[in-house]
């Protein structure tokens, strides 16, 4: 690009009819949503960290086996789903529809596995250890409130993500959506992965029971 051409773009970048950030509006919209959603999770995590540090009697219910092993496996699953997602986006940009759909299906399988393992963990906590969002045997109701609040909101994001990916994969296969739509859904999926990178250490690893 010549010098004069570059100047022309800079001068008129903000005068309409151009993309100042060199991305589509739907991609910019997803980025803005991610920033606002990250602040929602930040508020919850900061509130959790506050009560966790301020409370010396905070319960430590997570034994290495099975709770920590399970949540580490869930982290591995979510990280792997991000890898298949990013490979799917790459395949979409190359125009390889078959491969894109294959990678998206793998991402959805990992996402579903995450939700299923998480749900069994909730079930065990509620039925065997009698931990609910309102009460628990250790007399620290905030534990249940923060645990189920944080992991519940995250699980909701994963579930919505799986449905979102299914819609995008279906549409991409039928030429209704293009590679950018796959990339935008990828942004959302990676964000869900990113949030778990904070919830896993802060919620689980801060409350490990080493005696068990």
């Amino acid at each position: 690009m010549s010098h004069t051409e570059t100047e022309g773009i800079i001068e008129s970048s903000w005068s309409g009819g151009r993309a100042p950030f060199a991305i589509n509006s739907n991609k910019l919209g997803m980025w803005l949503f991610i920033v606002s959603d990250s602040l929602t999770f930040s508020a919850l995590l900061v509130a959790y960290a506050y009560v966790r540090l301020a409370n010396p009697d905070w319960p430590r219910p997570f034994e290495i086996w099975p709770a920590i092993a399970k949540s580490t496996l869930m982290t591995l699953i979510l990280l792997s789903s991000s890898l298949t997602m990013v490979l799917g986006v790459g395949a979409a940009h190359r125009g390889d529809r078959k491969k894109t759909v294959k990678y998206l299906i793998w991402t959805m399988i990992f996402g579903l596995a995450f939700v299923v393992i998480h749900a069994t963990e909730w079930y065990t906590l509620m039925t065997q250890e009698h931990v609910t969002p309102w009460s628990n045997p250790w007399g620290v109701p905030l534990f249940g409130g923060t645990f189920f609040g944080l992991t519940g909101l995250h699980m909701l994001h994963v579930t919505i993500g799986v449905v979102y990916l299914a819609v995008v994969a279906w549409g991409f296969k039928r030429d209704k959506y293009d590679a950018t739509d796959v990339e935008v859904s990828g942004l959302y999926w990676h964000f869900v992965d990113l949030v778990w990178m904070f919830i896993f250490p802060l919620v689980y690893l801060m409350s490990v029971n080493l005696k068990g």
Binding site: I9, G17, R18, A19, P20, F21, A22, I23, N24, L28, W31, L32, V35, S38, L39, S42, A43, V46, A49, Y50, V51, R52, L53, A54, N55, P56, W58, I64, I68, T72, T75, L76, L79, S80, S82, L83, M85, V86, L87, G90, H93, R94, A179, T180, E183, G186, L187, H190, F191, D193, L194, M197, F198, F200, P201, L202, L205, M206, V208, L210
Partner: protein, 107 residues
């Protein structure tokens, strides 16, 4: 392709090898975090280290998986500084008060 489309472009950046490397580092950092759980560190120190490691992981995900490293600088400046500022405002409320309780010698 019009000039408008060319400005937006479909940039395919990063090879499978690069993404696999990032994935490996994310797993490694997760492994370190799980190992730290065995060390019985004091909660404030543990929280600081875990958040530090998680921020590195978040930076890896945002830079490579979410491609932000390969976007225009303007997009980064639009999104990240304002978000960091808002989170810092939350932390200003959080640190002195929760650490005051720690300072009472409860731990």
């Amino acid at each position: 392709m019009s000039a408008h489309d060319a400005a937006i472009g479909t940039h395919e950046v990063g090879s499978t090898k690069l993404f696999a490397t990032v994935w490996f580092w994310l797993l490694l950092l997760t492994g370190i975090e799980v190992f730290l759980a065995y060390l019985r560190l004091a909660p404030p120190l543990m929280l600081t280290i875990l958040v530090g490691l998680s921020l590195i992981k978040a930076a890896l995900i945002v830079s490579y998986f979410m491609h932000l490293r390969f976007e225009r600088l303007g997009l980064f400046l639009l999104l990240i500084p304002a978000m960091v500022f808002c989170i810092c405002m939350m932390l200003i409320m959080f640190f002195p008060d929760s650490l005051r309780v720690v300072g009472l010698g409860a731990h």
